[in-house]
Structures are given as structure tokens and as C-alpha cells.
């Protein structure tokens, strides 16, 4: 702009009369705009006033990713289990086929022996036809059993059709299969062709198989019509599942990091938005807080468990508040040292509720008086609040012995232990005003502070096996107060907390 001064008296007159930025309106108010001008301005700048609303899409994406991860993991491990199972079944079926072949050879040998024995009997006892049949059966059975016992001692695997010895163990290094095979062979020694005995043998086989450690076996059988084949035509399906140790009780220790947030709910969404903006303006800085705890769990079955414990959280938050107040010189009070003081109440936002607090600004009696006007006082509060939580959670876990994923949900009761709040002004509206740090070191001084809160809690967890007794644990979770910690003018404030625990579980 041009700095030259107008020389024309008319110009000088107008400039002198109209220039200047005197903020006070004239007496008759001709230079005050209508009240609705601000409303129109406010309506036009509405979108810019929304400061970082809670990004629900971001959270929805995180949740969707977790769900996707869960199902992907579940699908992949299921496929792996099925593949492993198919391999095991095929191996077992191959072995059974070999055993069946082996026994068919033995059967032929037995039949030939029976025929020989029968011929002997016929020669020796020609006159008693009825007894012959009975004896023949008895002989056949006993002979067969004896034959088996003797044969087993020498050539467990028997002979192939070409007469060569079969591998007597028939195993591929699988100790369980070896044991199963041994059980079957041992029971064959006592084989009988009576149907009721067959059933007894089956039960015994199943019972002995089930007694094998660390394995679950599901034995399915089908019986062929032919008698001899009935024993060896069985299809035994071994559903080999690795089972976790039979521990029922576990304890854990962990450290945690927590991050607090807020959810503002109101019937009128515009009111809610205003409150959100207020909170946003108040809480400039919120740091991660630390904590830790112990937990005790009981495993109901392979997948489900319940858990409780003690959870200590120490919250350390530096919050900034911008207090807007009318400075009123008439309300100044002279203190004992002669200074003039003015007290300003404001709402202190804490993780356990919003509480009324105040700051006091003072000036020396010698300093210039402050004219009445609207002032903004930036205030900083350093809050150290500790609380103890008791969670009661249900957990569903899945996976294998070395790595497990889980989902958990339940309630968390938080009890405040102690509160220490230091309040100081960051800046004063006038240079001659000063402020002394104000400290509230007792929780009872913080009126309206919630001493107990009940929260919903949900989360996921991962466990990695360190050894037979110890598991490393990683648990992100999210909790929200069931009831609002602060409610004013139908606007409700709910604290939220994201939490990550890292620790170990010990199994008994």
C-alpha cells in the first residue's frame, strides 16, 4: 500500500474521520452488524471446525483385518490337519493291507493244517460223526491259536507267497503305529472265531490304543461277511491329533501399554460434535500409559477357558485445556502478600471422569489493573492416576501345540487407587499476570472422580510355546465403559482404552 499522505484537505478529513481500528462500537451502534452474521459465518465454516473425528472406518478396517486373519489361519490349519490326517490314514491302511496279505498266507497255511488234522482225525475216529464235527472245530481253533503263537515267535511277519520272510515290524518309524500293530498281533494270538469273542478283542484293542500317551485315536471298524476276513478286513482309521498337555490351570504375568480415547454420545449429533470438538481442544497430548498384572486361568476343555486376575494401570497424561473466561477486575481479591488474585474454574478431563478444578492468576499490587474482557488461559495438567482392574474373561483358543490364537471377551472392573494432578498455566493472557503451580495429591480432593468403573472388554491373543510349561503371550484388547463417566446436557462421555499385554503363561 501507498504510504503517501493525502494532501487534499477533503481526503485528510475523511481519512482522519474514518480510518483507525477502534474495536469499540459507536454510541448509537450504527457500526454493529446484525447478530445473525456470526450464525451465517459459523454455518459456512462448519466443515473446517470438525477436528479429526474418530475415524470409525480405521477401526472397522482393523477389526475386518483381524477377522480375515482369523479365518485365513483357521482355514490353513484345518487344511494342514486334514492333509496330515490323510497321510496318516494312508500309511495305516497300507500297513493294514500288508498285514491282511500276511495273514491270508497264514490262513492258507492254517487251512492246510486243519485239512491235514481233519484227515488224521477221520482216520483216528471214524465212528463218531457228531463228535467229529465238534472236535474238528475245537482242534481247528486250538491248533490255529497254537500255530499263531509259535509262528509269531519265529516269523512275526510271516512269509510272502514266494516264501520269503516279510519285514516283521512293518513300521515306517511311527512309534504309535508300531504299538498299534503290536497290540493287534498280540490279540491275534488269542484269536477266536466266536463272534462274541471278536467283540471282546475289538474292545480291548480300542482300550489299549486309547491308553497310549499324548494321542487320541478314533477307531472305526467295518466287518466283512466272511469269517476270516472279518478279523482282517477291518479298516482301522487312526485319527491322529496332537493334543495339548492335559494342564487345567495356568497363571500368567504381563506388562501392558494402554492408550486412552473417548467416545461422545448425544441424542442430537450436532451437540455431540460440539462436545467432541471441546474434548479435542482440551486434550492436545495424551501419552501411552504403562501397567502390568497377574492372571489366573482355568482350562475348561481344549478350546475354552476362563480367566481372571489383577491388572494394575498407571496412567500418566499431560492434558492441555484452553479456558475461556471473562476477566473481571471487580472479582480480584487481595491475598496476604498484597497481590491481587482472580480464580477461574474449569473442567479437568481425566481418564476416570471430568472434574471441576480451578486456576488462580495473580498480579502484583503495583502492576496495572487488567480491564474487563474475554481472556483465554492455556492450562496444562499433569495427571498421574493409578487404578487396579479385575477382569473376568472367557477365551476361545485354537491352533497347534506350539502356536495358538484366541479370542476373548468379558468385563473389567477398575478401582481407582490414587490420583496426583498438577495444574499449571502454559501462558498467561497478560504479562503482568502470573500463576503458581497447583497440586492435587489426594484423590478425595478430586470431587466427582469415579472411584469404580465397569468396562466391556474384547480382544485377541497369540501364544507361542517356549517349553512344556511356559508360553509367551501377546494380547491386544479394547475396553469401553459400560456407563458414561461424565454426563452433562444429555451428552455422555465414555472412556475407551486400547491395551497391549506382553508376558508369559505357566501351565500346571
Amino acid at each position: 500500500m501507498d504510504k503517501n499522505l493525502p494532501k487534499d484537505p477533503l481526503e485528510e478529513f475523511f481519512k482522519k474521520s474514518l480510518e483507525g481500528q477502534n474495536e469499540l462500537p459507536s454510541d448509537n451502534g450504527w457500526d454493529i452488524p446484525s447478530l445473525n452474521v456470526w450464525d451465517r459465518v459459523e454455518a459456512d465454516i462448519q466443515p473446517t471446525a470438525i477436528v479429526r473425528p474418530i475415524n470409525y472406518w480405521k477401526w472397522a478396517t482393523v477389526v475386518a483385518s483381524m477377522v480375515l486373519l482369523f479365518f485365513t489361519y483357521k482355514w490353513s490349519t484345518q487344511n494342514e490337519q486334514i492333509e496330515e490326517l490323510v497321510i496318516e490314514i494312508n500309511e495305516n491302511n497300507e500297513q493294514l493291507e500288508t498285514v491282511k496279505g500276511l495273514l491270508k498266507n497264514k490262513e492258507k497255511e492254517i487251512e492246510s493244517l486243519v485239512v491235514e488234522q481233519n484227515i488224521d482225525n477221520i482216520y483216528n475216529q471214524q465212528s463218531i460223526e457228531n463228535e467229529e464235527v465238534v472236535q474238528r472245530d475245537d482242534v481247528r481253533v486250538s491248533h490255529r491259536a497254537t500255530h499263531f503263537s509259535e509262528k509269531n515267535k519265529n516269523e512275526i511277519g510271516g512269509k510272502n507267497n514266494n516264501g520269503s520272510l516279510k519285514n516283521p515290524t512293518l513300521n515306517t518309524g511311527n512309534m504309535v503305529n508300531q504299538k498299534v500293530e503290536n497290540i493287534i498281533v498280540e490279540n491275534l494270538d488269542k484269536a477266536n472265531f466266536d463272534n462274541s469273542k471278536e467283540e471282546l478283542i475289538d474292545k480291548k484293542i480300542i482300550q489299549e490304543i486309547n491308553e497310549l500317551p499324548k494321542r487320541n485315536f478314533v477307531v472305526e471298524s467295518s466287518v466283512d461277511n466272511e469269517k476270516l476276513k472279518a478279523e482282517w478286513g477291518r479298516v482301522a482309521t487312526f485319527n491322529l491329533k496332537k493334543e495339548r498337555l492335559n494342564s487345567k490351570l495356568f497363571v500368567g504375568v504381563y506388562g501392558s501399554r494402554n492408550f486412552g480415547m473417548r467416545s461422545i454420545v448425544a441424542d442430537d449429533s450436532s451437540i455431540s460434535q460440539i462436545r467432541k470438538n471441546e474434548i479435542k481442544n482440551i486434550r492436545e497430548k495424551e501419552s501411552w500409559t504403562t501397567g502390568g498384572g497377574v492372571k489366573l486361568g482355568f482350562q475348561i476343555n481344549k478350546n475354552w477357558s476362563i480367566e481372571t486376575g489383577l491388572q494394575y494401570t498407571k496412567s500418566e497424561i499431560t492434558a492441555r485445556h484452553l479456558i475461556q473466561k471473562q476477566y473481571n477486575a471487580a472479582s480480584e481479591i487481595q491475598n496476604s502478600s498484597g497481590d491481587f488474585e482472580n480464580e477461574f474454574a474449569f473442567l479437568l478431563v481425566t481418564p476416570m471422569g471430568d472434574v471441576e478444578s480451578d486456576v488462580t492468576l495473580s498480579r502484583s499490587a503495583m502492576s496495572t489493573a487488567i480491564p474487563d474482557q474475554l481472556v483465554y488461559i492455556p492450562v496444562e495438567s499433569n495427571q498421574k492416576i493409578s487404578f487396579l482392574g479385575i477382569p473376568i474373561l472367557a477365551k476361545y483358543r485354537f491352533g497347534n501345540e506350539t502356536f495358538r490364537l484366541g479370542l476373548k471377551g468379558g468385563v473389567l472392573a477398575n478401582f481407582i487407587l490414587d490420583a496426583d494432578v498438577e495444574i499449571s498455566t502454559v501462558d498467561t493472557p497478560f504479562p503482568n499476570l502470573r500463576h503458581r503451580k497447583h497440586r492435587i495429591s489426594n484423590k478425595t480432593e478430586l470431587e466427582n472422580l469415579k472411584t469404580t468403573t465397569i468396562n466391556w472388554l474384547a480382544g485377541v491373543e497369540a501364544e507361542v510355546k517356549l517349553n512344556d510349561k511356559m508360553y509367551f503371550l501377546f494380547e491386544p484388547s479394547f475396553s469401553k465403559n459400560i456407563s458414561p463417566i461424565f454426563e452433562k446436557n444429555n451428552v455422555k462421555t465414555y472412556p475407551l482404552m486400547a491395551n497391549v499385554k506382553v508376558g508369559v503363561n505357566y501351565l500346571f
Partner: protein
């Protein structure tokens, strides 16, 4: 920049509605006076003030803090006023002012009796082109070259509009005084 302006600026930049309202309350009167001088009437001035403050809040991040906040807001308001005038009507219509003479001297004692409200109303009665150039040159302190660039007219047009504006004002003032 004043300490209180710094605090208000910080609050406005964060989108604090209270700080925005406080800024508006602080500057609304001087800015409205400017708008009244550029506008034909009060409703038009209020429209200018509204649009001006909307632009102030939207562009506040561009304020470099090199000068007073009030000066920056004033420039934004004047620019918005000029834009509105150019949008709404032809800036320089042919207005004949009879017996123009720059040589007529002015009696300051007579003028001294006029208050700011009356002077503003007299300026409002000027044809748009005269009024704009007169405000920019006399009150805001723009040079004719700057006015010519801003209004996209020649320097001579700016000069002649000022000359005519002053002549008209003298005439109007005399009428007021005479009765």
C-alpha cells in the same frame, strides 16, 4: 502481534469455535465499518462482512504473523468487498457529475461537525466506481497504480474516478450543510 491475538490465532487454527467467535467479536466493528463504506446499504455490508470472515477463517493458516493480525484481516475484508462489488454490478458506470472542480477548497470547520456515521452514509451514496476508488485511495492508502492493477483498469481511470468522487462528495457535503 499482540499476545491475546496470538492465543486467538492458535485457537482458531485448531478449529476452536470459541476462539473463532472471540476473533469475530474483536474485529467485527472495525471491519463492518469498512464494509459499510464499500457497500450500497447495510444488508450488502453484512453480506460482505460474512463472506469476509468466512474467508478469514478458511485462509487463516496463510497468515505469516509478520504484521498485526488486524491488518491482515482488513486486507482480506477489502478484497472480498471488491470481489462482491465486481460480481454484483458494473464497477464503472457513466455518471455525469456537473460542475466538477478540484480547485474548490473545503471548509474544515464545517466538516468537523459531521460524524463517522454521516460520512459513511455520504460515501455510500457515491456511484460504485467513485466509492471504491475513493475508499481504496483515501482510506486504505492504495496508490493509483495498485488500484489500477486490482480493479483491472488504467491508472488514468483511477485518477479520474477519484477526482469525480471528491467533487461529488464536496457537492453532497455542501448540500448537507446548506440544508
Amino acid at each position: 502481534m499482540e499476545q491475546s491475538d496470538k492465543i486467538l490465532l492458535k485457537g482458531c487454527l485448531k478449529g476452536d469455535r470459541n476462539a473463532q467467535k472471540a476473533l469475530y467479536e474483536k474485529f467485527k466493528v472495525p471491519m463492518f465499518r469498512i464494509c459499510l463504506r464499500y457497500a450500497n446499504d447495510r444488508p450488502e455490508a453484512e453480506d460482505m462482512l460474512q463472506e469476509g470472515f468466512v474467508k478469514v477463517f478458511l485462509d487463516l493458516h496463510q497468515f505469516r504473523k509478520e504484521g498485526p493480525l488486524g491488518g491482515w484481516i482488513r486486507r482480506v475484508i477489502v478484497n472480498v468487498a471488491l470481489m462482491q462489488i465486481r460480481k454484483r454490478r458494473k464497477l464503472f458506470s457513466n455518471v455525469e457529475v456537473e460542475n466538477l472542480s478540484d480547485s474548490v477548497t473545503t471548509d474544515e470547520d464545517v466538516f468537523a461537525e459531521m460524524n463517522a456515521k454521516a460520512l459513511t452514509r455520504i460515501i455510500q451514496k457515491l456511484p460504485t466506481g467513485y466509492r471504491v476508488v475513493f475508499n481504496m485511495y483515501v482510506i486504505e492508502g492504495y496508490s493509483h497504480k495498485e488500484i489500477a492493477e486490482k480493479l483491472e483498469v488504467s491508472v488514468n481511470t483511477s485518477k479520474s474516478q477519484l477526482s469525480k468522487a471528491k467533487a461529488t462528495l464536496r457537492k453532497m457535503l455542501e448540500k448537507c450543510i446548506v440544508g
